[in-house]
Symmetry: C2
Subunit: 194 residues, 2 copies
Amino acid sequence: MNSLNVASITKPETRGPVVNGVPTGQLMEVIDSIGQDSGNAQFQFRLNNHWIGGSINRSRMDDLFANGREDRHDQPFELDADEPRLVAGEDTAPTPVEYVLHALASCLTTTMVYHASVQGIAIESVESHVEGDIDVRGFFGLSDEVRKGFNQVRVRMQVKSEAGAEQLRELAMYSAVYDIVSNSLPVDVVIEKV
Amino acid sequence: MNSLNVASITKPETRGPVVNGVPTGQLMEVIDSIGQDSGNAQFQFRLNNHWIGGSINRSRMDDLFANGREDRHDQPFELDADEPRLVAGEDTAPTPVEYVLHALASCLTTTMVYHASVQGIAIESVESHVEGDIDVRGFFGLSDEVRKGFNQVRVRMQVKSEAGAEQLRELAMYSAVYDIVSNSLPVDVVIEKV
């Protein structure tokens, strides 16, 4: 089954309509393979990060596990993170918390577009504005009662589509990052001295 | 007080030792200003995202609210998101969930380095490997019982430092993104038809 998927991916144009720029035939094949065997639903995303110095560090993403097998990106991706000058950074890259907001906006958008596409719902445009409020007394250790991360995130999405706002919201709510950010999640952090 | 901070930021080299590449005098001034007035602890990060087509969208980060006043990055940052080819993407940029892992690794690293620096603890190197497991039956709507995002995230940090692993872990646990990902958070999503 995996070899069938791999072969089909090279010719997305031959398998079903492209809706909103999404090759729905290709997407349905992956969804079908997952429905037939839950082993194909197991994905793992990975990265390596190294500290460059001061406020700057860099992540590299290359391989992943997808649809039940090892896979890799067409090319490795590198992302830097930095801090604003106000908090002793060099402002060469977005902050870690801005990356969270980007992950959220991008996932809500892609999720809405993907689910609309397989249902044949046309979407013309999606624009989002995202705000995250943070009281940095928690991060800086000045108060045990203030949480360290955002205390509130707001997303306003402006969508041009034939579908209604409530239906579009239902589609967006399948977002993986919305789930990650809004709900609790086990995060295991192990520190090793080298 | 704000004008004093702004003036001091232009000359970080004049105010205290640089530890691990972090100008601790500058950082302590910000922390002091927050300790004196909790209004200075209120930060807001923002971005605008727009859908480009299919699996691709782009965020732009420019202004922010920091230390009780409007601020902006030295230059706007733009980030794209895409999906792997296997799930009907074009693989031109990291996926939204990979951005979450980058946010987590980078925040844990910066947090450990910043807190170590103000305590005078030298750190020589930090390398992290992060994995996030996801069962995509939730995302694709194939099962109501499977969550849509990661079900488990693992971070292994390898640190070269004079401090012990347990102390380094305590420092890293001030991370804003660790809090955001591991704990629940109110995320308000509003969809407007345009």
